[in-house]
Amino acid sequence: MKSALFGKVFLHELRVLIADRTLLLVGSLLVALVLYGFYNGYQETLQREHAAQELAKKQADKHAENITTLRALLGGEQKPDPFANPFDPASVGGGMEMRYATLPTLALSPLAFGQSDMLPNYYKVTDRSKASFMYDTEIENPWNLLSGHFDITFVLVYLFPLIIFALSYNLLTVEREQGTLRMLLSQPLSLAILVAGKLLVRALPVLLIMAVLPLLLLGVLRPQLFQADQLPAVLGWLGLVLAYGGFWFALALLVNIIGRSSATNALALMAAWVLFVLVIPVVLNIVVGLLSPAPSRIELATKTRLITIEGLNRYHDKLSSDYRFTQDPEVLLPRDGKIEVAPRRQAQFLIQRDVDKEIQRVLNEFSTQLAVQQMLVERFGWISPAIVTYEGMAAIAGNGAARYLEFQQQVDRFHERWKEYFEPRLLNSIAMTEQDYAEMPHFEWAEVPVQVSGILKRLLLLVIPALIVIAFAIRRMRRFSVV
């Protein structure tokens, strides 16, 4: 009997929503927003992937060119260039060969910009100090909450609640105001079933569009979505959309149960939206910035300069020696596996090495800042479902702060490997061979799989508030006034 009545309410509401064109209007607006948001995210992802390909190509071209030069020099067809000598480990490790370490995009990357335009997606790794390539950006506050890009996550976090309000802010109050509520509730129909039917008929189509349409588009455009390891991310996306939408529907329910008029309902819902979607994220952004301020770039620059000056003194002897190739061009070619690495260039390498070593504390502050900011958001983000959802989507898309932090660390370790590879050759004047070129270290990004536990935690942070709101609404139903 109950489920039969529920079905009747559901079908009737569907009929009304179709007849008054609400469903058509709201549905097509949402589809348009989803398509536009998806387009933006997809373009951004394509650009990133294109840029990564360009860099890989540049690196490969440079490599091929170096091999060609090397062979030409061995065959005596060409005279060596002292500052671009493929035998000289100082030249090779310092830029003739370089590694573009790029953070690959994930299947779901188009769904959320996340931190992708705040933090670098690639670094150019050479044997120079990491201060010169990893910390040379101007961004004061690297972590950015709700960046405001018009991507799918923006549609979901900012606009989807408004769509939900448009459908359901006056769900019950309008029936009271029109006088149909007394007609309905004079029948053996409980308020709970009535409101459940009305809610579900509104929730189903928009949740379906919001959750499934982006996945359909992704499935067509990015077949890697169907790989088994993407399953947690896909389920996470679905879960977060449903839970976030569910939260706003729950709030609309509560407001309708408590509210006296449609107008007050609309006001109350807008106030909740402003609070959760605008105020709390902005305040949290500010608080996080205050609690974890950006380390001083001036200190970094000053310190780098001081260490460099110290190095200039320490390695004075090497630096003041002349380049020998000016008198003896033969030293530019390898002899018995050796090549004369100019002492000046050894000194430059050593200075960079010292900078890296001594500046580590300052650099740690930078990566710690990002980690601390992320930690603060994890700790306080639950206050707003908008933050939970935004961060969750960024993580699923592979554009969350945690993945970027991991990227920095992997690049840092790779940079160390690169330097370790060249240091003995450079200091012991060992000539580079074609064999060496094949064996030089390559940056291999080790993916951090999407954390299922992290997704579950975020789902709980959305579902629990929604359930609390629903429980409260159910309690208040007894005091609901029909007239």
Binding site: V9, R15, V16, Q178, G179, R182, M183, S186, Q187, P188
Partner: protein, 234 residues
């Protein structure tokens, strides 16, 4: 069937009903007379559990409506003063929905049409959107909804308001038919003539109090009129 025991209803400091005890038995048409603000609609709302009594009890078919809201609503059909429907749907679709809620079944189209016809709605109007209906036409759909339920009791709040005299008269006949088949009818009205004509019993209310009850057979129309005016002036 429709019974109240020492029923009180306060709205804040205002007492809208004072110790009302009535009992409408199957086969009776009980007409509540009273000026605007007498508390007639409040009494009806209490039968529908739309309001909670401050004191006393409301029983439908022997069951307390607060304890058994759904069961008691199964036994009541209700026509409000203003029948309000879904404007974007047709009269027939509205009837179909409310009748389905009332009976739990989907009634076939010809059954719905005959209900509308029985309520006096023009057959050509059945498939038009209700937003084009007059107040009287909506009232007729409301009557059809009530009749579809085949309930043991009818609660009517000035049901003929907005109906033309002919339609009001047809409605009276419907009520009499319902009465004859054992339905208990409680109706509020301003219309003394209608009360005398169709009612079996008449109650006169003033400012929340039930002043008197009488059998309509025991009074003539003019007696009822002078009695009513006497009570209103006192």
């Amino acid at each position: 069937m429709l019974k109240t025991i020492q029923l009180d209803k306060h709205f804040g400091s205002h007492q809208a009903l004072k110790a009302i005890s009535i009992d409408v038995k199957p086969g009776e048409i009980y007409c509540l007379l009273g000026a605007n603000g007498a508390g007639k609609t409040t009494l009806i709302n209490l039968f529908l559990n739309f309001l909670q009594p401050t004191g006393g009890q409301v029983l439908v078919n022997g069951r307390d409506v607060q304890q058994y809201p759904l069961e008691s609503k199964r036994d009541i059909a209700y026509i409000p003063e203003l029948v309000m429907l879904y404007g974007v749907l047709s009269g027939l679709e509205n009837l179909e929905y409310f009748a389905a809620l009332a009976t739990g079944e989907k009634l076939p189209r010809d059954k719905l049409l005959s209900l509308l016809q029985g309520a006096g709605l023009d057959a050509t109007a059945a498939d038009r959107r209700v937003s084009t209906y007059s107040k009287g036409m909506r009232q007729k759909v409301g009557i059809a909804i009530a009749m579809a339920k085949n309930a043991k009791a009818l609660l009517l709040d000035e049901p003929t308001s907005g109906l033309d005299p002919k339609a009001a008269n047809e409605f009276s006949q419907l009520l009499t038919k319902a009465k004859d088949s054992g339905v208990a009818v409680l109706t509020t009205t301003h219309d003394l003539f209608h009360a005398k004509q169709t009612g079996t019993r008449i109650g006169i209310m003033r400012r929340g109090e039930l002043l008197t009850e009488l059998n309509s057979a025991d009074v003539s129309h003019s007696e009822l009129e002078s009695l009513y005016l006497q009570y209103m002036e006192a």
